[in-house]
């Protein structure tokens, strides 16, 4: 600053009265958020680093302690050169649970990643386009769902996969998930909406994208199980939960999606419903990431009243008693190798599935350990991360193969893809077992 930049400003002392108080938007953009004070909580114990699945297999990755508190502490207001290594973070959020001192690690990573994309990644780069595409899978899915058979055929072609790898950097090692011939929402409309009406027991179901477009059987299972317990189900309008967008640093896309979701879910709350989700990353996003990154009206209330579908039943119903009489015959339900997704783990839900299924006669679920599956949403789809992703998943694959079961069980769509990819097993969602145990085939109407 020199004298000529700021000439003495003679009028300024007099116009004080015109300076009326206006509340100011301190953080106009999520990217501008100052998280340096969060570094105060870190005493560098490195527990986060020892719990980071990426750091465990990739020596080049500096780990969450650097990504989070150290990088933020070294930052000045005008610095915008977030280190590129933040793109190697898979956003599994294990560091959040590992930290004994409440450092807002994933919030720091999400914000830094957003800033990296904003400031350092070219809008025209292959990586940006690929990430934008993966993050916004929700935008493409309706098209594929309109012509599901064609889409599945085209995506299954090896030439498509080859092109995907060459032009977009999407690994050709994986098979893209199939699209359902009928989406969940189409089924719901066809069905005529809720089959149970209740003033007292209402839930708003956040099905997310995957259960709508790819695995409507999971969403249908939720409907039948909840209706079995007498709940009236609402299916509010909804956008992507934002999980893939956070992980790709597309904070503006996430903000738009979250704004829709918060408004719709807040309205459902207003109507007396609680919110449940069948995907552990969707519930994680609404509960933790929304309040950390956004401040739309109702964000806190929506976050505080969102539940995982199984958790909600365990708290509000006598699930154990209900299941005491249930039994499932046959190999189909006999043994499962269960993997708790990181995002369920972070919500403190990693033990519940094995507990609940224990009550069902004829069903055995064996926990395959606390390792990360390695795919972390869109992370393992990127050609450059594929190898890391499979290295992280190796422990889980090994434990799955060591277990009695010949099939897998989880609540996260992409963990499910990884489990299937690594072992060749069929992977089921927990709600599908509950549906079979409580409703049986009778519900399949």
């Amino acid at each position: 600053m020199s004298e000529t930049d700021h000439p003495p400003d003679d009028g300024a002392t007099e116009d004080r009265s015109s300076d009326e108080f206006e509340p100011i938007q301190v953080f106009p953009e999520a990217e501008a958020m100052d998280l340096r004070p969060g570094a105060d909580n870190c005493y560098k114990c490195s527990t986060c680093d020892t719990n980071c699945p990426v750091a465990e297999v990739d020596d080049e990755f500096p780990g969450p302690k650097f990504q989070g508190p150290e990088q933020w502490r070294l930052k000045r207001q005008d610095d915008h050169d977030v280190d590129e290594s933040v793109m190697k973070c898979s956003n599994c959020m294990r560091c959040d649970s590992a930290c004994p001192s409440e450092v807002p690690l994933s919030q720091m990573h999400n914000t830094a990643r957003g800033e990296y994309i904003e400031e350092r990644m070219s809008r025209f780069s292959r990586e940006y386009l690929r990430n934008r595409l993966l993050a916004n899978y929700r935008r493409l899915a309706p098209l594929a769902a309109t012509f599901p058979r064609t889409a599945n055929f085209v995506m299954g072609l090896s030439v498509t996969q080859w092109l995907g790898e060459k032009t977009l950097g999407i690994t050709s090692e994986r098979e893209l998930p199939d699209f359902a011939t009928e989406t969940f929402r189409e089924w719901w409309t066809e069905r005529g909406g809720p089959a149970v009406e209740s003033e007292a027991k209402q839930i708003a179901y956040f099905h997310g994208c995957y259960a709508n477009y790819n695995t409507p059987e999971v969403a249908k299972a939720l409907v039948r199980v909840y209706e079995h317990f007498g709940y009236e189900i609402m299916i509010p309008e909804q956008d992507c939960s934002g999980t893939p967008m956070f992980a790709n640093g597309m904070l503006e896309d996430a903000r738009r999606a979250a704004e829709t979701n918060v408004a719709e879910l807040a309205a459902a709350l207003e109507d007396g419903a609680d919110i449940v989700a069948s995907c552990s990353s969707c519930s994680m996003s609404i509960r933790q990431e929304y309040p950390e990154l956004f401040d739309f009206e109702g964000t806190a209330e929506v976050a505080a009243n969102t539940w995982d579908a199984l958790e909600y039943l365990r708290v509000h119903e006598d699930l154990e008693a209900e299941l005491a009489d249930a039994s499932l015959e046959g190999d189909e339900y006999d043994e499962f190798a269960y993997h708790a997704p990181c995002h369920a783990r972070n919500q403190g839900l990693d033990g519940q599935t094995v507990d609940v299924l224990e009550a069902i006669d004829g069903v055995e679920a064996e926990d395959v350990g606390d390792s990360c599956s390695g795919i972390s949403g869109t992370y393992g789809w990127k050609a450059e991360n594929y190898e890391t992703s499979m290295k992280i998943g190796a422990a889980m694959f090994e434990h799955m193969e060591g277990a009695e079961a010949e099939q897998g069980l989880t609540e996260c769509p992409t963990c499910s893809m990884q489990m299937g990819h690594g072992t060749g097993y069929e992977i089921t969602h927990t709600l599908e077992i509950l549906e079979a145990a409580l409703v049986g085939d009778a519900g399949a109407a």
Binding site: S2, E3, H6, P7, D19, I24, K44, C45, D83
Partner: protein, 558 residues
């Protein structure tokens, strides 16, 4: 051992190093002696404010004018030591409108660029300021690293032929009748670079002229030659926060008062200060209530400070002085101007001048005036060039800013390293060897640490002030042993060990005043780490007895 020099400067703070550089650049033969490390006295114990002069714009306009002039010079010659943060004088509802107006007018009188911001505008610049703020005056205050600046002066003085001796304590000021002709010094570990465990020695250094630039200690030095210099040392506490809550210097806009400034400093923010006269600059109480008071008062300006983590506190002693007969009661009223006491005029004793008073921002101007005086005494005709010649590290900074080279380091580490090293960055950081980060808190790499060891020998505190290694939130808990390891194999294990102990002790000293909340957890983690992984609570290597290796078994055979 005896040596002779043309000019002998006592004191390795900003004034002494500034004088040594100035005189050496004018072609004089200079020796500087310092009791501890460079900056160990008052220079290393200031809040790091590069004054715009705004602070003195009402009470002392001569000082204010001098500050803005020097502020602009230092931005040019010491760009790598200065961060151009800007500063705000913030008015809260209780603060007087009249004073605000006087401050603004004072700035204009002194040619200090100043403009008024509304409360809202000020909060846009600094979101963590209290919402109560009425308005603010923006001035070109800055942040300066006193360590780096002082070292750069010393390094440049050496480059111009000066001899700089640290850890060389003056034990006698030699006087023969009405003439001071030199000093006796005690070298802690022999002359030259510090080397732990090397035997100490004494040296007589004679000189044509002696400059007593020992600041708060000037009275003690003068007394060795039976001269009286009535310095009135005044202590002030400064508290270092773990992160920067603000990126602009924040001053409270009201007449003198304790605890009215927050200075963003490197990765931290420094809160200051208090002003209380003490009798001995080496021995005064450091009380917890002083720290508490500073935090509480400044939380009115920046509320988040109330909950923020403090990593250490330190006290500095101002070398205040006023001419005999002034008898000001309150130390805050004593002038911040400096005084050149020519003992020939004053006491009829030739060969010696003492410098007292003054402030860091104007160190160069003080050095210039004193150097002119010394040249006059010695009949040397040479002009001062320190206002134009950049310090080592500050040449061609624009080139560095444009340079995209990150030296294979992660972005924030590269950025902070380049800021510390300035134009020396490529010389230091370009290496074919592996260059891991040794101090993760401050982003200091092995190459930078080795460069500092080259400069200063085994003294890890000297490495610290050059690099900031161990100055972050763990206060050396995770890095001090890594720094010590870098001394090996050039220095032996015992030397590395005592260098480590000394650094660790120094880090602990300041942390004692921050042991609550997170910093207490930090201290506990550090203790556990050092005790369990290095045996540093009961280190057999530190005891005299030999270890009975036979008592260990071979472990379980598998």
């Amino acid at each position: 051992m005896a040596t002779d020099t043309e000019v002998l400067v006592l004191g390795g703070g900003s004034t002494g190093c500034g004088i040594a550089r100035d005189l050496a650049m004018r072609g004089l033969e200079v020796t500087l002696v310092e009791r501890g490390n460079l900056t160990d006295g008052t220079t290393g114990r200031m809040h790091g404010l590069l004054h715009s002069g705004g602070r003195y714009a009402v009470s002392d306009q001569a000082s204010a004018t001098e500050c803005i002039e020097e502020n602009e010079i230092l931005r040019d010659i010491a760009g790598h030591c200065v961060e151009e943060t800007g500063g705000l004088f913030v008015q809260l509802p209780d603060d007087s409108d009249d004073y605000f107006r006087e401050k603004l007018e004072g700035c204009r009188d002194c040619n200090i660029p100043a403009r008024v911001l509304s409360g809202r505008e000020a909060r846009e610049i600094e979101p963590y300021l209290t919402p109560d703020i009425e308005r603010a005056i923006e001035v070109p205050d800055g942040a300066v690293d006193p360590f780096r600046l002082c070292v750069a002066n010393a390094v440049d003085a050496e480059a111009h032929g000066a001899r700089i001796e640290t850890h060389a304590e003056v034990i006698d000021l030699l006087r023969d009748g009405a003439d001071v002709y030199g000093v006796d010094v005690r070298h802690d570990s022999g002359p030259g670079k510090r080397r732990h465990a090397a035997p100490g020695s004494t040296e007589e250094i004679t000189a044509e002229y002696v400059v007593n630039a020992t600041g708060a200690w000037a009275g003690q030095i003068a007394a060795m030659a039976d001269l009286e210099v009535a310095v009135r040392p005044s202590k002030g506490v400064m508290t270092i926060m773990n992160v920067r809550q603000v990126d602009t210097v924040i001053n409270r806009c009201r007449p003198k008062g304790d605890a009215d400034i927050v200075v963003p400093h490197e990765t931290t923010a420094i809160l200051g200060t208090t002003d209380e006269e003490v009798s001995d600059p080496d021995d005064y109480p450091e009380a917890q209530w002083e720290v508490d008071q500073v935090i509480d008062t400044l939380a009115d300006l920046v509320p988040i400070l109330e909950e923020a983590r403090t990593i250490r506190s330190f006290w500095g002693v101002r070398p205040l002085y006023e001419p005999p007969g002034t008898a000001t009661q309150d130390p805050t009223d004593i002038t911040r101007d400096f005084f050149l006491l020519d003992h020939a005029e004053r006491d009829g004793v030739s060969g010696l001048s003492s410098i007292v008073g003054g402030k860091f921002t104007t160190y160069r101007a003080m050095a210039e005036e004193i150097s002119d005086h010394v040249c006059g005494k010695l009949g040397v005709d040479a002009t001062c060039a320190t206002a134009e010649e950049p310090l080592p590290g500050s040449e061609n900074l624009a080139v560095l800013e444009d340079g995209m080279d990150e030296f294979g380091l992660r972005s924030p580490v590269a950025r902070r390293s380049k800021q510390r090293l300035g134009s020396r960055a490529s010389d230091v950081l370009e290496t074919d060897d592996a260059n891991p980060v040794l101090c993760a808190c401050e982003g200091v790499t092995r190459a930078e640490v080795r460069d500092a060891i080259q400069q200063s020998g085994t003294d890890l505190n000297a490495v610290r002030i050059r690099t900031r290694a161990s100055m972050g939130n763990c206060q050396g808990g995770f890095c001090s042993q890594l720094l010590a390891t870098e001394l090996h194999p050039e220095y032996d294990e015992a030397t590395a060990r005592s260098a480590l102990d000394e650094l660790f002790q120094e880090r602990w000293k300041g942390q004692r005043h921050a042991l609550w909340g997170e910093q207490l957890s930090q201290a506990m983690v550090t203790y556990a780490l050092h005790a369990t992984t290095m045996n540093r609570d009961r280190d057999p290597a530190a005891s005299d007895g030999s270890l009975e290796y036979g008592a260990f078994d071979d472990g379980e055979v598998r």
